[in-house]
Protein backbone atom coordinates (compact mmCIF):
# COMPACT_ATOMS: atom_id res chain seq x y z
CA UNK A 1 0.00 0.00 0.00
CA UNK A 2 1.43 3.36 -1.01
CA UNK A 3 1.77 5.76 1.88
CA UNK A 4 -0.21 8.94 1.49
CA UNK A 5 -1.14 11.23 4.35
CA UNK A 6 -1.70 14.67 2.89
CA UNK A 7 -4.65 16.86 3.67
CA UNK A 8 -6.15 18.79 0.79
CA UNK A 9 -5.02 21.98 2.56
CA UNK A 10 -1.40 20.81 2.27
CA UNK A 11 -1.78 20.99 -1.51
CA UNK A 12 -3.16 24.51 -1.56
CA UNK A 13 -1.30 27.20 -3.54
CA UNK A 14 -2.49 30.81 -3.45
CA UNK A 15 -4.38 31.62 -6.64
CA UNK A 16 -4.51 28.09 -8.09
CA UNK A 17 -7.92 27.00 -9.28
CA UNK A 18 -9.68 24.35 -11.31
CA UNK A 19 -12.67 26.31 -12.52
CA UNK A 20 -13.59 29.93 -13.14
CA UNK A 21 -16.89 30.86 -11.62
CA UNK A 22 -19.12 33.48 -13.26
CA UNK A 23 -19.18 36.90 -11.66
CA UNK A 24 -21.35 37.08 -8.56
CA UNK A 25 -24.45 39.06 -9.38
CA UNK A 26 -25.92 38.91 -5.88
CA UNK A 27 -23.52 41.06 -3.84
CA UNK A 28 -26.29 43.49 -2.99
CA UNK A 29 -27.91 40.96 -0.67
CA UNK A 30 -24.90 40.74 1.66
CA UNK A 31 -25.63 44.14 3.15
CA UNK A 32 -29.13 42.97 3.93
CA UNK A 33 -27.81 40.27 6.25
CA UNK A 34 -27.64 41.23 9.93
CA UNK A 35 -24.12 42.13 10.98
CA UNK A 36 -23.96 39.15 13.36
CA UNK A 37 -24.48 36.69 10.52
CA UNK A 38 -21.78 38.07 8.19
CA UNK A 39 -18.28 36.60 7.96
CA UNK A 40 -15.56 38.80 9.34
CA UNK A 41 -12.98 37.29 7.00
CA UNK A 42 -12.82 35.26 3.81
CA UNK A 43 -13.36 31.51 4.28
CA UNK A 44 -10.14 29.49 4.22
CA UNK A 45 -10.63 27.05 1.36
CA UNK A 46 -8.02 24.93 -0.38
CA UNK A 47 -6.88 26.37 -3.71
CA UNK A 48 -6.10 23.45 -6.00
CA UNK A 49 -6.33 22.32 -9.62
CA UNK A 50 -8.67 19.60 -10.86
CA UNK A 51 -5.73 17.22 -11.17
CA UNK A 52 -4.72 17.92 -7.55
CA UNK A 53 -8.22 17.01 -6.43
CA UNK A 54 -8.38 13.83 -8.52
CA UNK A 55 -4.97 12.60 -7.33
CA UNK A 56 -5.68 13.49 -3.73
CA UNK A 57 -8.90 11.51 -3.47
CA UNK A 58 -7.67 8.63 -5.64
CA UNK A 59 -4.65 8.26 -3.34
CA UNK A 60 -6.83 8.40 -0.26
CA UNK A 61 -9.22 5.80 -1.69
CA UNK A 62 -6.29 3.43 -2.23
CA UNK A 63 -5.47 3.61 1.47
CA UNK A 64 -8.96 2.43 2.30
CA UNK A 65 -10.00 -1.10 3.18
CA UNK A 66 -13.44 -2.40 2.26
CA UNK A 67 -15.31 -5.58 1.51
CA UNK A 68 -14.32 -5.07 -2.13
CA UNK A 69 -10.64 -5.32 -1.14
CA UNK A 70 -10.64 -8.03 1.53
CA UNK A 71 -12.29 -10.08 4.28
CA UNK A 72 -14.07 -7.90 6.82
CA UNK A 73 -15.34 -10.05 9.74
CA UNK A 74 -16.57 -7.10 11.81
CA UNK A 75 -18.99 -8.64 14.32
CA UNK A 76 -22.48 -7.18 14.59
CA UNK A 77 -22.01 -5.26 11.33
CA UNK A 78 -22.83 -7.95 8.72
CA UNK A 79 -20.19 -6.85 6.22
CA UNK A 80 -21.54 -8.90 3.34
CA UNK A 81 -20.66 -8.21 -0.26
CA UNK A 82 -23.02 -5.71 -1.92
CA UNK A 83 -23.77 -6.83 -5.48
CA UNK A 84 -22.89 -4.19 -8.05
CA UNK A 85 -26.26 -4.45 -9.77
CA UNK A 86 -27.68 -2.59 -6.77
CA UNK A 87 -25.67 0.44 -7.84
CA UNK A 88 -26.65 0.07 -11.46
CA UNK A 89 -30.35 0.09 -10.67
CA UNK A 90 -30.09 2.97 -8.19
CA UNK A 91 -28.24 5.05 -10.79
CA UNK A 92 -30.94 4.63 -13.47
CA UNK A 93 -32.04 8.14 -14.48
CA UNK A 94 -35.70 7.23 -14.03
CA UNK A 95 -34.98 6.76 -10.31
CA UNK A 96 -32.02 9.06 -9.74
CA UNK A 97 -33.80 12.00 -11.37
CA UNK A 98 -36.84 11.95 -9.10
CA UNK A 99 -37.58 14.94 -6.94
CA UNK A 100 -39.32 14.53 -3.58
CA UNK A 101 -41.67 17.43 -4.31
CA UNK A 102 -43.00 15.99 -7.58
CA UNK A 103 -46.78 15.52 -7.61
CA UNK A 104 -47.75 11.99 -6.57
CA UNK A 105 -49.43 11.43 -9.94
CA UNK A 106 -46.00 11.64 -11.66
CA UNK A 107 -44.22 9.18 -9.33
CA UNK A 108 -46.71 6.33 -9.12
CA UNK A 109 -43.97 3.82 -10.01
CA UNK A 110 -41.71 4.95 -7.19
CA UNK A 111 -44.60 4.92 -4.72
CA UNK A 112 -45.54 1.42 -5.90
CA UNK A 113 -41.96 0.30 -5.31
CA UNK A 114 -42.16 1.75 -1.80
CA UNK A 115 -45.30 -0.33 -1.22
CA UNK A 116 -43.82 -3.47 -2.79
CA UNK A 117 -40.64 -3.26 -0.71
CA UNK A 118 -42.80 -2.80 2.40
CA UNK A 119 -44.73 -5.95 1.49
CA UNK A 120 -41.52 -7.92 0.89
CA UNK A 121 -40.14 -6.86 4.28
CA UNK A 122 -43.48 -7.78 5.89
CA UNK A 123 -43.28 -11.24 4.35
CA UNK A 124 -39.68 -11.71 5.55
CA UNK A 125 -40.28 -10.48 9.11
CA UNK A 126 -43.90 -11.38 9.81
CA UNK A 127 -44.87 -7.78 10.60
CA UNK A 128 -48.13 -6.32 9.27
CA UNK A 129 -47.03 -2.86 8.13
CA UNK A 130 -43.79 -1.00 7.45
CA UNK A 131 -42.52 2.52 7.26
CA UNK A 132 -39.40 3.00 5.14
CA UNK A 133 -38.87 6.57 6.35
CA UNK A 134 -36.13 6.22 9.03
CA UNK A 135 -32.61 7.12 7.92
CA UNK A 136 -30.61 4.51 9.84
CA UNK A 137 -30.84 1.67 12.34
CA UNK A 138 -30.75 3.86 15.45
CA UNK A 139 -33.23 6.26 13.83
CA UNK A 140 -35.44 3.20 13.28
CA UNK A 141 -35.09 2.34 16.97
CA UNK A 142 -36.25 5.82 17.95
CA UNK A 143 -39.14 5.59 15.48
CA UNK A 144 -40.19 2.18 16.80
CA UNK A 145 -40.10 3.44 20.37
CA UNK A 146 -42.16 6.50 19.38
CA UNK A 147 -44.74 4.09 17.94
CA UNK A 148 -44.77 2.15 21.21
CA UNK A 149 -45.16 5.35 23.20
CA UNK A 150 -47.95 6.57 20.91
CA UNK A 151 -49.73 3.23 21.32
CA UNK A 152 -49.76 3.55 25.10
CA UNK A 153 -50.75 7.23 24.95
CA UNK A 154 -53.62 6.50 22.54
CA UNK A 155 -55.00 4.07 25.11
CA UNK A 156 -54.66 6.59 27.91
CA UNK A 157 -52.06 4.33 29.52
CA UNK A 158 -49.71 7.12 30.58
CA UNK A 159 -47.83 5.32 33.36
CA UNK A 160 -45.71 3.26 30.96
CA UNK A 161 -42.49 5.25 30.93
CA UNK A 162 -39.92 2.52 31.53
CA UNK A 163 -38.31 0.15 29.03
CA UNK A 164 -36.32 -3.01 29.71
CA UNK A 165 -32.98 -3.47 27.93
CA UNK A 166 -30.74 -6.54 28.38
CA UNK A 167 -27.14 -6.00 29.53
CA UNK A 168 -25.93 -7.54 26.25
CA UNK A 169 -27.85 -5.05 24.09
CA UNK A 170 -26.36 -2.89 21.38
CA UNK A 171 -25.47 0.47 22.92
CA UNK A 172 -27.93 2.21 20.62
CA UNK A 173 -30.88 0.53 22.41
CA UNK A 174 -30.61 2.39 25.72
CA UNK A 175 -29.48 5.51 23.84
CA UNK A 176 -32.57 5.51 21.59
CA UNK A 177 -34.84 4.84 24.57
CA UNK A 178 -33.32 7.77 26.45
CA UNK A 179 -33.82 10.06 23.44
CA UNK A 180 -37.46 8.90 23.37
CA UNK A 181 -37.82 9.99 27.00
CA UNK A 182 -38.06 6.49 28.44
CA UNK A 183 -36.35 5.32 31.61
CA UNK A 184 -34.05 2.33 31.04
CA UNK A 185 -34.25 -0.75 33.22
CA UNK A 186 -31.51 -3.32 32.74
CA UNK A 187 -32.10 -7.09 32.76
CA UNK A 188 -29.16 -9.43 33.28
CA UNK A 189 -27.90 -12.29 31.13
CA UNK A 190 -27.59 -15.75 32.62
CA UNK A 191 -24.49 -17.98 32.46
CA UNK A 192 -25.45 -19.09 28.96
CA UNK A 193 -25.49 -15.52 27.70
CA UNK A 194 -29.29 -15.37 27.38
CA UNK A 195 -31.85 -13.06 29.00
CA UNK A 196 -32.49 -14.38 32.50
CA UNK A 197 -36.24 -15.01 32.70
CA UNK A 198 -36.16 -15.14 36.50
CA UNK A 199 -34.38 -11.77 36.59
CA UNK A 200 -36.96 -10.38 34.15
CA UNK A 201 -40.13 -11.41 36.01
CA UNK A 202 -39.87 -9.00 38.99
CA UNK A 203 -39.31 -6.06 36.59
CA UNK A 204 -42.65 -6.49 34.86
CA UNK A 205 -45.41 -4.17 36.06
CA UNK A 206 -47.79 -1.51 34.75
CA UNK A 207 -45.00 1.04 34.29
CA UNK A 208 -43.26 -1.03 31.61
CA UNK A 209 -43.69 0.27 28.06
CA UNK A 210 -41.87 -2.73 26.61
CA UNK A 211 -38.60 -4.61 26.21
CA UNK A 212 -35.92 -4.18 23.54
CA UNK A 213 -34.21 -7.36 22.39
CA UNK A 214 -32.13 -8.60 19.53
CA UNK A 215 -32.39 -12.24 18.59
CA UNK A 216 -29.93 -13.82 18.07
CA UNK A 217 -28.35 -11.59 20.70
CA UNK A 218 -24.98 -9.86 20.57
CA UNK A 219 -23.21 -13.09 21.52
CA UNK A 220 -24.69 -14.66 18.39
CA UNK A 221 -26.95 -16.85 20.55
CA UNK A 222 -30.61 -17.52 19.87
CA UNK A 223 -32.83 -16.40 22.75
CA UNK A 224 -34.59 -19.73 23.08
CA UNK A 225 -36.96 -18.48 25.79
CA UNK A 226 -38.34 -15.80 23.51
CA UNK A 227 -41.88 -17.24 23.47
CA UNK A 228 -42.01 -17.24 27.27
CA UNK A 229 -40.50 -13.75 27.43
CA UNK A 230 -43.06 -12.50 24.90
CA UNK A 231 -45.93 -13.99 26.91
CA UNK A 232 -44.66 -12.45 30.16
CA UNK A 233 -44.13 -8.98 28.69
CA UNK A 234 -47.49 -9.01 26.91
CA UNK A 235 -49.22 -10.18 30.08
CA UNK A 236 -47.98 -7.09 31.91
CA UNK A 237 -49.23 -4.86 29.09
CA UNK A 238 -45.82 -4.13 27.54
CA UNK A 239 -44.69 -4.49 23.94
CA UNK A 240 -41.69 -6.28 22.42
CA UNK A 241 -39.18 -4.38 20.31
CA UNK A 242 -36.87 -6.34 18.00
CA UNK A 243 -33.51 -4.80 17.11
CA UNK A 244 -33.09 -6.09 13.55
CA UNK A 245 -29.32 -5.60 13.54
CA UNK A 246 -29.00 -9.38 13.84
CA UNK A 247 -31.68 -10.35 11.32
CA UNK A 248 -29.28 -11.86 8.80
CA UNK A 249 -29.14 -15.44 10.19
CA UNK A 250 -32.93 -15.64 10.50
CA UNK A 251 -33.95 -14.38 7.08
CA UNK A 252 -36.37 -16.80 5.47
CA UNK A 253 -36.05 -19.22 8.40
CA UNK A 254 -37.70 -17.60 11.43
CA UNK A 255 -39.80 -14.43 11.61
CA UNK A 256 -39.67 -12.00 14.55
CA UNK A 257 -43.41 -11.45 14.10
CA UNK A 258 -43.99 -15.14 14.81
CA UNK A 259 -41.82 -14.95 17.95
CA UNK A 260 -44.20 -12.38 19.40
CA UNK A 261 -42.41 -9.13 18.57
CA UNK A 262 -44.66 -6.10 18.06
CA UNK A 263 -42.17 -3.65 16.54
CA UNK A 264 -38.85 -4.06 14.74
CA UNK A 265 -36.37 -2.14 12.67
CA UNK A 266 -34.16 -3.54 9.93
CA UNK A 267 -30.70 -2.29 9.03
CA UNK A 268 -30.86 -2.44 5.25
CA UNK A 269 -27.07 -1.92 5.13
CA UNK A 270 -26.57 -5.14 7.07
CA UNK A 271 -29.10 -7.71 5.95
CA UNK A 272 -30.11 -6.25 2.59
CA UNK A 273 -26.75 -5.30 1.06
CA UNK A 274 -26.96 -1.53 0.92
CA UNK A 275 -23.83 0.56 1.52
CA UNK A 276 -22.49 0.75 5.07
CA UNK A 277 -22.62 4.35 6.16
CA UNK A 278 -19.48 6.15 6.98
CA UNK A 279 -22.20 8.53 8.04
CA UNK A 280 -23.66 8.44 4.55
CA UNK A 281 -27.24 7.75 3.60
CA UNK A 282 -28.77 4.76 5.34
CA UNK A 283 -32.18 3.25 5.92
CA UNK A 284 -33.76 1.67 8.98
CA UNK A 285 -37.30 0.59 8.03
CA UNK A 286 -39.65 -0.10 10.94
CA UNK A 287 -42.25 -2.86 10.87
CA UNK A 288 -45.13 -3.22 13.31
CA UNK A 289 -47.87 -5.69 14.17
CA UNK A 290 -51.38 -4.85 12.96
CA UNK A 291 -52.52 -3.26 16.23
CA UNK A 292 -49.75 -0.65 15.98
CA UNK A 293 -50.05 0.12 12.26
CA UNK A 294 -52.00 3.34 12.70
CA UNK A 295 -49.17 4.83 14.78
CA UNK A 296 -46.44 4.54 12.13
CA UNK A 297 -44.89 7.87 11.14
CA UNK A 298 -45.97 10.14 8.32
CA UNK A 299 -45.50 10.85 5.47
CA UNK A 300 -46.66 7.44 4.34
CA UNK A 301 -47.81 5.90 1.08
CA UNK A 302 -51.51 5.07 1.03
CA UNK A 303 -53.46 3.30 -1.69
CA UNK A 304 -56.73 4.98 -2.67
CA UNK A 305 -59.80 2.95 -3.56
CA UNK A 306 -59.11 3.39 -7.27
CA UNK A 307 -55.61 1.89 -6.88
CA UNK A 308 -53.70 5.14 -7.21
CA UNK A 309 -51.13 5.93 -4.55
CA UNK A 310 -50.82 9.13 -2.59
CA UNK A 311 -48.70 10.42 0.26
CA UNK A 312 -50.52 10.94 3.54
CA UNK A 313 -48.99 13.71 5.64
CA UNK A 314 -50.85 13.13 8.91
CA UNK A 315 -53.67 15.55 8.19
CA UNK A 316 -56.92 13.79 8.98
CA UNK A 317 -58.78 12.82 5.82
CA UNK A 318 -61.75 11.25 7.52
CA UNK A 319 -63.90 14.28 8.28
CA UNK A 320 -66.89 15.26 6.17
CA UNK A 321 -65.41 18.08 4.12
CA UNK A 322 -63.38 17.25 1.05
CA UNK A 323 -60.08 18.48 2.50
CA UNK A 324 -60.63 16.67 5.78
CA UNK A 325 -60.83 18.37 9.14
CA UNK A 326 -57.30 19.67 8.85
CA UNK A 327 -56.61 18.64 12.41
CA UNK A 328 -53.44 16.70 13.21
CA UNK A 329 -53.33 13.70 15.47
CA UNK A 330 -55.98 12.47 17.87
CA UNK A 331 -57.50 15.96 18.00
CA UNK A 332 -59.54 15.04 14.93
CA UNK A 333 -61.58 12.62 17.00
CA UNK A 334 -60.78 9.49 15.01
CA UNK A 335 -60.34 6.12 16.73
CA UNK A 336 -56.76 4.99 17.57
CA UNK A 337 -56.99 2.41 14.79
CA UNK A 338 -57.68 4.96 12.04
CA UNK A 339 -55.21 4.39 9.21
CA UNK A 340 -55.46 7.74 7.41
CA UNK A 341 -52.30 8.97 9.16
CA UNK A 342 -53.95 11.08 11.86
CA UNK A 343 -52.98 8.61 14.62
CA UNK A 344 -49.31 8.68 13.63
CA UNK A 345 -46.48 9.08 16.11
CA UNK A 346 -45.37 12.05 14.00
CA UNK A 347 -42.91 12.87 11.27
CA UNK A 348 -39.37 11.53 11.51
CA UNK A 349 -37.93 12.45 8.11
CA UNK A 350 -38.38 15.33 5.69
CA UNK A 351 -39.75 13.14 2.95
CA UNK A 352 -39.91 9.37 2.75
CA UNK A 353 -36.49 8.12 3.73
CA UNK A 354 -33.49 7.55 1.49
CA UNK A 355 -35.12 6.27 -1.65
CA UNK A 356 -31.82 5.37 -3.33
CA UNK A 357 -30.98 3.06 -0.45
CA UNK A 358 -34.45 1.48 -0.54
CA UNK A 359 -33.96 0.79 -4.25
CA UNK A 360 -30.77 -1.16 -3.57
CA UNK A 361 -32.46 -3.32 -0.94
CA UNK A 362 -35.39 -3.95 -3.27
CA UNK A 363 -32.97 -4.98 -6.02
CA UNK A 364 -31.19 -7.35 -3.63
CA UNK A 365 -34.44 -9.04 -2.62
CA UNK A 366 -35.59 -9.49 -6.22
CA UNK A 367 -32.19 -10.67 -7.43
CA UNK A 368 -31.96 -13.38 -4.77
CA UNK A 369 -35.60 -14.40 -4.86
CA UNK A 370 -37.43 -16.41 -2.25
CA UNK A 371 -35.35 -19.59 -2.43
CA UNK A 372 -31.96 -17.89 -2.30
CA UNK A 373 -33.02 -15.50 0.47
CA UNK A 374 -33.62 -18.62 2.55
CA UNK A 375 -30.00 -19.69 1.96
CA UNK A 376 -28.52 -16.49 3.41
CA UNK A 377 -29.08 -17.31 7.08
CA UNK A 378 -27.95 -20.95 7.04
CA UNK A 379 -24.77 -20.07 5.11
CA UNK A 380 -23.96 -17.21 7.47
CA UNK A 381 -24.47 -19.54 10.45
CA UNK A 382 -22.38 -22.30 8.88
CA UNK A 383 -19.47 -19.92 8.23
CA UNK A 384 -19.52 -18.54 11.78
CA UNK A 385 -19.61 -21.99 13.38
CA UNK A 386 -16.84 -23.23 11.08
CA UNK A 387 -14.50 -20.45 12.24
CA UNK A 388 -15.53 -20.86 15.88
CA UNK A 389 -14.92 -24.60 15.94
CA UNK A 390 -11.63 -24.25 14.06
CA UNK A 391 -10.22 -21.69 16.49
CA UNK A 392 -11.66 -22.67 19.87
CA UNK A 393 -8.43 -24.37 20.98
CA UNK A 394 -6.40 -21.19 20.42
CA UNK A 395 -8.93 -18.65 21.67
CA UNK A 396 -11.03 -18.65 24.82
CA UNK A 397 -14.65 -19.50 23.97
CA UNK A 398 -16.78 -18.48 26.96
CA UNK A 399 -20.05 -19.97 25.70
CA UNK A 400 -19.40 -23.19 23.80
CA UNK A 401 -22.79 -23.70 22.16
CA UNK A 402 -23.78 -23.53 18.50
CA UNK A 403 -23.83 -19.89 17.45
CA UNK A 404 -25.83 -18.11 14.78
CA UNK A 405 -24.21 -15.58 12.43
CA UNK A 406 -21.49 -14.45 14.86
CA UNK A 407 -19.72 -15.45 18.06
CA UNK A 408 -17.47 -13.97 20.71
CA UNK A 409 -14.06 -15.10 21.92
CA UNK A 410 -12.70 -13.76 25.22
CA UNK A 411 -9.11 -13.24 24.11
CA UNK A 412 -6.42 -15.86 23.65
CA UNK A 413 -6.68 -19.27 25.30
CA UNK A 414 -3.19 -18.69 26.71
CA UNK A 415 -2.91 -15.10 27.94
CA UNK A 416 0.34 -15.65 29.87
CA UNK A 417 2.43 -13.36 27.64
CA UNK A 418 0.06 -10.43 28.19
CA UNK A 419 -1.09 -10.23 24.57
CA UNK A 420 -4.50 -8.54 24.47
CA UNK A 421 -7.41 -8.50 22.08
CA UNK A 422 -6.25 -5.11 20.80
CA UNK A 423 -2.86 -6.60 19.87
CA UNK A 424 -4.53 -9.45 17.97
CA UNK A 425 -6.76 -7.02 16.09
CA UNK A 426 -3.78 -4.86 15.11
CA UNK A 427 -1.74 -7.86 13.99
CA UNK A 428 -4.56 -9.03 11.69
CA UNK A 429 -4.09 -5.82 9.71
CA UNK A 430 -0.54 -6.91 8.87
CA UNK A 431 -1.99 -10.02 7.23
CA UNK A 432 -4.50 -8.12 5.11
CA UNK A 433 -7.68 -8.72 7.11
CA UNK A 434 -9.97 -6.15 8.64
CA UNK A 435 -10.09 -6.58 12.41
CA UNK A 436 -13.18 -8.09 14.05
CA UNK A 437 -15.23 -6.03 16.50
CA UNK A 438 -13.30 -5.80 19.77
CA UNK A 439 -14.20 -5.07 23.39
CA UNK A 440 -17.89 -5.56 22.60
CA UNK A 441 -20.08 -6.97 24.03
CA UNK A 442 -19.02 -5.71 27.44
CA UNK A 443 -19.85 -9.03 29.12
CA UNK A 444 -16.22 -10.14 28.75
CA UNK A 445 -12.98 -8.23 29.23
CA UNK A 446 -11.25 -9.35 26.02
CA UNK A 447 -14.18 -9.69 23.60
CA UNK A 448 -13.41 -10.48 19.96
CA UNK A 449 -16.62 -10.64 17.95
CA UNK A 450 -16.41 -12.38 14.59
CA UNK A 451 -19.06 -12.39 11.86
CA UNK A 452 -18.00 -13.80 8.48
CA UNK A 453 -21.37 -13.43 6.59
CA UNK A 454 -22.66 -15.75 3.90
CA UNK A 455 -20.84 -14.16 0.98
CA UNK A 456 -17.35 -15.46 1.88
CA UNK A 457 -15.97 -18.65 0.32
CA UNK A 458 -14.52 -21.55 2.29
CA UNK A 459 -11.08 -20.61 0.96
CA UNK A 460 -11.38 -17.13 2.49
CA UNK A 461 -12.53 -18.57 5.82
CA UNK A 462 -9.64 -21.06 5.78
CA UNK A 463 -7.19 -18.26 5.08
CA UNK A 464 -8.51 -16.30 8.04
CA UNK A 465 -8.44 -19.35 10.33
CA UNK A 466 -4.84 -20.09 9.39
CA UNK A 467 -3.75 -16.53 10.19
CA UNK A 468 -5.65 -16.48 13.48
CA UNK A 469 -3.85 -19.70 14.51
CA UNK A 470 -0.55 -18.20 13.40
CA UNK A 471 -1.20 -15.10 15.53
CA UNK A 472 -2.05 -17.26 18.55
CA UNK A 473 1.31 -19.03 18.09
CA UNK A 474 3.14 -15.72 17.67
CA UNK A 475 1.57 -14.50 20.92
CA UNK A 476 3.65 -17.15 22.72
CA UNK A 477 6.82 -17.19 20.61
CA UNK A 478 7.16 -13.49 19.82
CA UNK A 479 4.68 -11.42 21.86
CA UNK A 480 6.50 -8.15 21.11
CA UNK A 481 5.67 -8.41 17.41
CA UNK A 482 2.00 -8.32 18.43
CA UNK A 483 2.30 -5.60 21.03
CA UNK A 484 3.88 -3.28 18.46
CA UNK A 485 1.66 -4.32 15.54
CA UNK A 486 0.72 -3.31 12.91
CA UNK A 487 4.02 -3.22 11.02
CA UNK A 488 3.03 -3.15 7.34
CA UNK A 489 0.19 -0.62 7.28
CA UNK A 490 0.64 3.01 6.14
CA UNK A 491 0.45 4.16 9.74
CA UNK A 492 1.60 2.10 12.72
CA UNK A 493 -0.20 1.79 16.03
CA UNK A 494 -2.13 4.98 16.61
CA UNK A 495 -2.16 6.83 19.91
CA UNK A 496 -5.91 6.63 20.39
CA UNK A 497 -5.73 7.84 23.96
CA UNK A 498 -4.07 11.16 23.21
CA UNK A 499 -6.39 11.57 20.23
CA UNK A 500 -9.33 11.24 22.63
CA UNK A 501 -7.83 13.32 25.46
CA UNK A 502 -6.41 16.15 23.37
CA UNK A 503 -8.17 16.06 20.01
CA UNK A 504 -6.84 18.30 17.24
CA UNK A 505 -9.91 19.03 15.16
CA UNK A 506 -8.83 21.87 12.87
CA UNK A 507 -6.14 22.06 10.19
CA UNK A 508 -5.04 25.41 11.58
CA UNK A 509 -4.36 23.77 14.97
CA UNK A 510 -1.89 21.33 13.41
CA UNK A 511 1.69 22.43 13.78
Amino acid sequence: MKYYDKLIFDLSKEGRQGYSLPANRWTATVSELPESLRRSCEPVLPQVSELDVVRHYTNLSQMNFGVDSGFYPLGSCTMKYNPKINEEIAAMPAFAGLHPLQPASTVQGALRLYKDLSHALSAITGMAEFTLDPFAGAHGELTGLMVIRQYHISRGDLKRTRIIVPDSAHGTNPASAAVCGLEIVQVKSNAMGLVDVEDLKPLLDDTIAGIMMTNPNTLGLFEKDIKEIAALVHACGGLLYYDGANMNPLMGVVRPGDMGFDVLHLNLHKTFSTPHGGGGPGAGPVGVAAHLASHLPVPKVVEAEDGTLYVADGTCRCAVSEEGSGAFGPACGCAPECMCGCQSCGQISGFMGNFGVLLRAYTYILMLGKQNLKMVGPLAVLGANYIKESLKDCYRLPIPTVCKHEFVFDGLADQSTGVTTLDIAKRLLDYGFHAPTIYFPLLFHQSIMIEPTETESKETLDGFIEIMKHIAAEALSDPDSLKTAPHTTPVRRLDETTAARQPVLKFSDLS
Partner: protein, 127 residues
Protein backbone atom coordinates in the same frame (compact mmCIF):
# COMPACT_ATOMS: atom_id res chain seq x y z
CA UNK B 1 -3.25 -8.57 39.32
CA UNK B 2 -5.08 -5.43 40.25
CA UNK B 3 -4.23 -4.09 43.68
CA UNK B 4 -6.58 -3.25 46.54
CA UNK B 5 -6.13 -1.14 49.64
CA UNK B 6 -6.97 -2.40 53.14
CA UNK B 7 -9.41 -0.37 55.20
CA UNK B 8 -11.58 0.80 52.30
CA UNK B 9 -15.09 -0.29 51.44
CA UNK B 10 -15.79 -1.74 47.98
CA UNK B 11 -18.95 -1.97 45.84
CA UNK B 12 -19.91 -4.64 43.31
CA UNK B 13 -19.77 -1.98 40.60
CA UNK B 14 -16.06 -1.34 41.36
CA UNK B 15 -16.16 1.86 43.37
CA UNK B 16 -14.16 2.28 46.56
CA UNK B 17 -15.16 4.32 49.62
CA UNK B 18 -12.87 5.82 52.22
CA UNK B 19 -14.62 7.10 55.33
CA UNK B 20 -13.49 10.29 57.06
CA UNK B 21 -15.96 11.22 59.80
CA UNK B 22 -19.33 11.44 58.12
CA UNK B 23 -17.85 11.96 54.65
CA UNK B 24 -17.45 9.17 52.11
CA UNK B 25 -14.61 9.71 49.66
CA UNK B 26 -15.47 7.79 46.45
CA UNK B 27 -13.29 6.60 43.59
CA UNK B 28 -12.96 3.70 41.17
CA UNK B 29 -10.81 0.68 41.88
CA UNK B 30 -7.56 -0.33 40.27
CA UNK B 31 -9.39 -3.31 38.80
CA UNK B 32 -11.89 -0.94 37.15
CA UNK B 33 -9.26 1.40 35.66
CA UNK B 34 -7.35 -1.59 34.38
CA UNK B 35 -10.44 -3.11 32.75
CA UNK B 36 -11.37 0.22 31.15
CA UNK B 37 -7.92 0.98 29.76
CA UNK B 38 -6.61 4.51 29.21
CA UNK B 39 -9.33 6.87 30.41
CA UNK B 40 -10.17 9.88 28.29
CA UNK B 41 -13.01 11.46 30.25
CA UNK B 42 -14.57 11.46 33.71
CA UNK B 43 -18.14 12.68 34.02
CA UNK B 44 -18.74 13.92 37.57
CA UNK B 45 -21.79 15.11 39.52
CA UNK B 46 -22.20 18.65 40.80
CA UNK B 47 -21.67 19.81 44.34
CA UNK B 48 -24.95 19.72 46.33
CA UNK B 49 -26.37 16.89 44.17
CA UNK B 50 -28.31 14.49 46.34
CA UNK B 51 -27.61 10.86 45.55
CA UNK B 52 -29.28 7.63 46.56
CA UNK B 53 -27.27 4.49 47.15
CA UNK B 54 -27.01 2.69 43.81
CA UNK B 55 -27.84 5.81 41.80
CA UNK B 56 -25.76 6.71 38.77
CA UNK B 57 -23.54 9.69 39.59
CA UNK B 58 -21.29 9.93 36.57
CA UNK B 59 -19.32 7.90 34.08
CA UNK B 60 -15.82 7.08 32.96
CA UNK B 61 -14.91 6.82 29.30
CA UNK B 62 -11.92 5.20 27.69
CA UNK B 63 -10.97 4.55 24.10
CA UNK B 64 -12.71 1.19 24.18
CA UNK B 65 -15.73 1.67 26.44
CA UNK B 66 -17.83 3.92 28.63
CA UNK B 67 -19.07 2.84 32.03
CA UNK B 68 -21.53 4.41 34.45
CA UNK B 69 -20.52 5.09 38.04
CA UNK B 70 -22.90 4.11 40.82
CA UNK B 71 -23.02 5.81 44.19
CA UNK B 72 -22.08 3.33 46.94
CA UNK B 73 -23.79 5.32 49.75
CA UNK B 74 -26.65 7.85 49.94
CA UNK B 75 -25.85 11.46 50.67
CA UNK B 76 -25.03 14.92 49.35
CA UNK B 77 -22.04 15.71 47.15
CA UNK B 78 -19.79 18.16 49.00
CA UNK B 79 -16.77 18.21 46.69
CA UNK B 80 -15.66 16.84 43.33
CA UNK B 81 -12.09 16.29 42.17
CA UNK B 82 -11.76 19.01 39.56
CA UNK B 83 -8.27 17.85 38.66
CA UNK B 84 -9.85 14.93 36.79
CA UNK B 85 -11.59 17.27 34.36
CA UNK B 86 -8.31 18.00 32.61
CA UNK B 87 -6.38 14.92 33.65
CA UNK B 88 -8.58 11.79 33.63
CA UNK B 89 -5.38 9.75 33.25
CA UNK B 90 -4.70 10.31 36.96
CA UNK B 91 -7.11 7.43 37.60
CA UNK B 92 -4.89 5.18 35.48
CA UNK B 93 -1.77 6.34 37.30
CA UNK B 94 -3.19 5.60 40.75
CA UNK B 95 -6.89 4.83 41.13
CA UNK B 96 -6.77 4.89 44.92
CA UNK B 97 -4.80 8.14 45.31
CA UNK B 98 -7.20 10.01 43.03
CA UNK B 99 -10.75 10.26 44.34
CA UNK B 100 -13.74 11.36 42.25
CA UNK B 101 -16.17 12.87 44.77
CA UNK B 102 -16.83 13.37 48.46
CA UNK B 103 -20.31 12.63 49.82
CA UNK B 104 -21.78 13.71 53.15
CA UNK B 105 -23.49 10.47 54.12
CA UNK B 106 -27.15 10.48 55.11
CA UNK B 107 -27.11 6.88 56.32
CA UNK B 108 -23.65 5.57 57.31
CA UNK B 109 -25.17 2.17 58.12
CA UNK B 110 -25.27 1.56 54.36
CA UNK B 111 -21.52 1.00 54.55
CA UNK B 112 -22.24 -2.38 56.07
CA UNK B 113 -23.60 -3.63 52.74
CA UNK B 114 -20.26 -2.97 51.02
CA UNK B 115 -17.30 -5.37 50.80
CA UNK B 116 -13.89 -5.29 52.43
CA UNK B 117 -10.70 -5.69 50.39
CA UNK B 118 -10.56 -9.46 50.70
CA UNK B 119 -14.18 -9.98 49.64
CA UNK B 120 -13.73 -7.59 46.73
CA UNK B 121 -10.59 -9.38 45.56
CA UNK B 122 -12.48 -12.66 45.66
CA UNK B 123 -15.27 -11.15 43.55
CA UNK B 124 -12.82 -9.80 40.96
CA UNK B 125 -11.11 -13.17 40.70
CA UNK B 126 -14.39 -14.55 39.41
CA UNK B 127 -14.95 -11.85 36.78
Amino acid sequence: MAKTVEGLYYSESHEWVKVEGNVAIVGITDFAQHAMGDLSYVDMPEVDDELEKGEEFGAVESVKAASDLFCPVSGTVVEINEELEDAPELLNVDAFANWIMKVEMSDPSELESLMDAAAYEAMCANE
